[in-house]
């Protein structure tokens, strides 16, 4: 078994009192009030430690001085990114450069709206890298039942099945990195920067897993998640799913060898939402797509999956259910088509949107019927793991018969 990472939960470990490393905290561009709230949280999180806080925000005109334990570094980013709601290649390059220049041994990268993270969570993230020998500590958010659905439906199951890595939020925006992990991510990010793709997404879990670095997952509780400026689901899904598919393509040599399933997670039994979500628009979108995009889907999906979609298209809303293995096969076939360029990649990712909406509708129907949302997500991830041999087989011999 080529297990790639050891996952540890550092949130329960007691915080050591002795300062053993130099920590750099890299903040995004924040408004004045948000910056001060974040600095106050950082000061509360590390009362006995002097830490470096790098921020591109202007510190001039600031009414209240920074706490004594925080050494502020105002810097101009060498690489700038237009995206602020998620970490991009530019963020990793800037953070590593600052960490190197200031002889930091660990780096804490915080995303937008970081003022909403509790001091204990900040401390737990940093300590897991400074003292628990983890190379990557990744945040585990306490999200609402209908939040981060792309993560639940695509990113987490694919990441868990292919990279054999446990983190529930592979594209988390709050990370703690050892210096070597920061260097690894910056090296990957630099390739995109040199191609003038500063907004490219980097997948820390895949990077860490592929070089067998230790990954820790830290429960950080509720956090305000920043939202993208543009609310166009099609383009955002294409951007994120496209980046994940490209990462899967790039790491093919690793994930074909990585085996093993993740142990069942302990998940909180979330209370069901008071009001049921309206799934009619999503079902309408799926049915409209079924009548129009069938020809395009048939270039990508095998007959079995098309039959499953046909059944779905005539299913009534109240009993609408997409089987987990059908969704796993669909995602895997789209990954394959992305690799083989069966159709234009923009078209391919555009054709995924209605299928994703069908999965969301199915998930919501299941939740409405009393299934705990997290249980469904874990079952889905297990279905992705079970079907991994299908992906490996078709990846190696794509011209073989499609079931």
């Amino acid at each position: 078994m080529a297990s790639t990472s050891t996952n540890i939960d550092a949130s329960t470990q007691p915080a050591p009192a002795v300062e053993t490393g130099r920590l750099l905290v890299s903040l995004p561009l924040l408004a004045n009030g948000e910056l001060h709230a974040t600095l106050a949280n950082l000061a509360a999180a590390f009362p006995e430690r002097t830490i470096l806080v790098a921020t591109p925000s202007s510190l001039e005109g600031s009414a209240s001085p920074a706490p004594d334990t925080l050494h502020l570094l105002a810097y101009t980013p060498t690489a700038a990114s237009a995206i602020s709601w998620i970490l991009t290649a530019a963020d990793y390059v800037n953070a590593f450069r600052l960490a190197e220049e200031n002889q930091a041994t660990a780096c804490l990268l915080l995303g937008a709206e970081s003022q909403s993270i509790a001091p204990e969570a900040l401390r737990a993230l940093a300590e897991s890298v400074l003292h628990a020998d983890a190379d990557l500590a990744i945040a585990h958010y306490d999200t609402g039942l209908r939040e981060l659905l792309v993560n639940s439906g695509i990113l987490y199951p694919v990441s868990r099945a292919l990279f054999a890595a446990r983190p529930r939020f592979p594209l988390a925006i709050d990370l703690a990195l050892s210096l070597r992990m920061a260097g690894k991510l910056a090296a990957t990010a630099q390739k995109f920067i040199s191609l003038n793709q500063n907004d490219a997404l980097i997948w820390p879990v895949a990077e860490a897993a592929s070089v067998n670095y230790t990954i820790a997952e830290i429960e950080i509780g509720p956090r305000t998640m920043p939202q993208p400026a543009a609310s166009d689901l099609n383009s955002l899904l294409a951007q994120i799913a496209g980046s994940l598919f490209a990462e899967v393509d790039a790491k093919a040599a690793f994930w074909q060898r990585a085996r093993g399933t993740q142990p069942a997670r302990l998940f909180p039994l979330s209370a069901l939402p008071a009001e049921a979500a309206d799934i009619t628009p999503m079902l309408d979108a799926f049915r409209l797509a079924y009548t129009n995009l069938h020809g395009i889907w048939s270039l990508v999906l095998p007959p079995n999956s098309l039959l499953g979609l046909k059944r779905l298209s005539i299913m009534p809303a109240e009993s609408f259910h997409m089987p987990d293995n059908l969704w796993a096969r669909i995602v895997y076939d789209f990954i394959l088509a992305y690799r083989l360029r069966t159709i234009n990649r923009g078209h391919l990712l555009g054709a995924l949107t209605p299928l994703y909406l069908a999965w969301v509708a199915s998930h919501l129907v299941l939740v409405r019927s009393g299934t705990a949302p997290e249980k469904h997500i874990q079952d889905l991830a297990a279905a992705f793991e079970t079907d991994k041999p299908y992906l490996v087989s078709r990846w190696r011999w794509p011209d073989r018969f499609n079931p």
């Binding site: 709601w85 609402g144 039942l145 209908r146 939040e147 981060l148 659905l149 792309v150 993560n151 390739k191 191609l195 998640m225 939202q227 993208p228 689901l233 099609n234 955002l236 899904l237 994120i240 939402p273 008071a274 009001e275 049921a276 979500a277 309206d278 628009p281 309408d284 979108a285 409209l288 797509a289 009548t291 129009n292 995009l293 395009i296 083989l340 360029r341 069966t342 159709i343 234009n344 990649r345 923009g346 078209h347 555009g350 054709a351 949107t353 209605p354 969301v360």
Partner: protein
């Protein structure tokens, strides 16, 4: 008199046979030139394929130009595209050399002055046909997927309209390039293109009025029913990211 008829017939037959005899070496030269250049083309294509494969050309192209070239290449491989272009350039060169040889062997006939420009125009027309088809298919899919994701009920109709607009435009360009039809083609193209646009406009504006209004109503309903963040009475919204 019969003698004169016989003479003129035999002279005519002699002339035709002589012409044919002088025509055949040229034809053989044309075929040999095409065959030899096709073989050279195949060798060049194989060599290029091997060199580019060993240089990981496809992977470099995929990294440096995410979609542009690979999507238009056969089997999504820029290496194959380069190899095939090299092969067909050699074949076209063979034709040009063959026609010149044919011309030289046919004692002063001006076949090449007539055929060569037509051959180059034909190659141009074939290139136009291929590009036109690719663009039509690309735009058809783009419009179809975009319209379906925008939840337009008439997505299929719109995409077919775009596809046929591009195909008609391509056909007109090809005929114009080959100088076939002259003003008739321009006129026919104008009528056909204008007709398609008018049909689309009328169909969307009048024939599909109900569909359009239903589609627009649904959009308005969606916008109006979009929950207000400040209103606690609204159900919890879906957040995909």
């Amino acid at each position: 008199m019969w003698q004169q008829v016989h003479d003129s017939l035999s002279q005519s037959a002699h002339r035709v046979l002589f012409k044919l005899a002088s025509f055949l070496p040229g034809l053989v030269a044309l075929l040999v030139a095409v065959l030899v250049l096709a073989l050279i083309g195949a060798a060049v294509a194989a060599l290029l394929r091997r060199i580019l494969t060993s240089a990981k050309f496809d992977e470099r192209m995929a990294r440096n130009s995410p979609d542009a070239i690979s999507d238009w290449s056969p089997s999504g491989s820029p290496t194959l595209l380069v190899a095939r272009v090299a092969f067909w350039v050699c074949v076209a060169l063979g034709f040009i050399i063959g026609i010149s040889a044919f011309d030289a062997s046919s004692n002063g006939s001006q076949i090449s002055t007539f055929l060569l420009p037509y051959l180059t125009h034909s190659i141009g027309a074939i290139v136009l046909l291929i590009i036109g088809n690719l663009v039509a298919r690309f735009l058809e899919r783009s419009v179809l997927i975009g319209a379906v994701n925008a939840r337009l009920q008439y997505a299929r109709f719109l995409s077919l309209g775009i596809k046929w607009l591009v195909l008609v435009l391509t056909a007109a360009m090809i005929l114009d390039h080959l100088e076939i039809g002259g003003a008739i083609v321009e006129l026919a193209f104008g009528i056909l293109f204008g007709g398609i646009v008018l049909t689309l406009a009328l169909a969307v504006g009048l024939g599909s009025r109900d569909i359009v209004s239903r589609s627009l109503e649904k959009n308005v309903e969606r916008t109006e029913s979009a929950p207000d963040a400040d209103s606690p009475a609204q159900p919890e919204t879906l957040r995909h990211f």
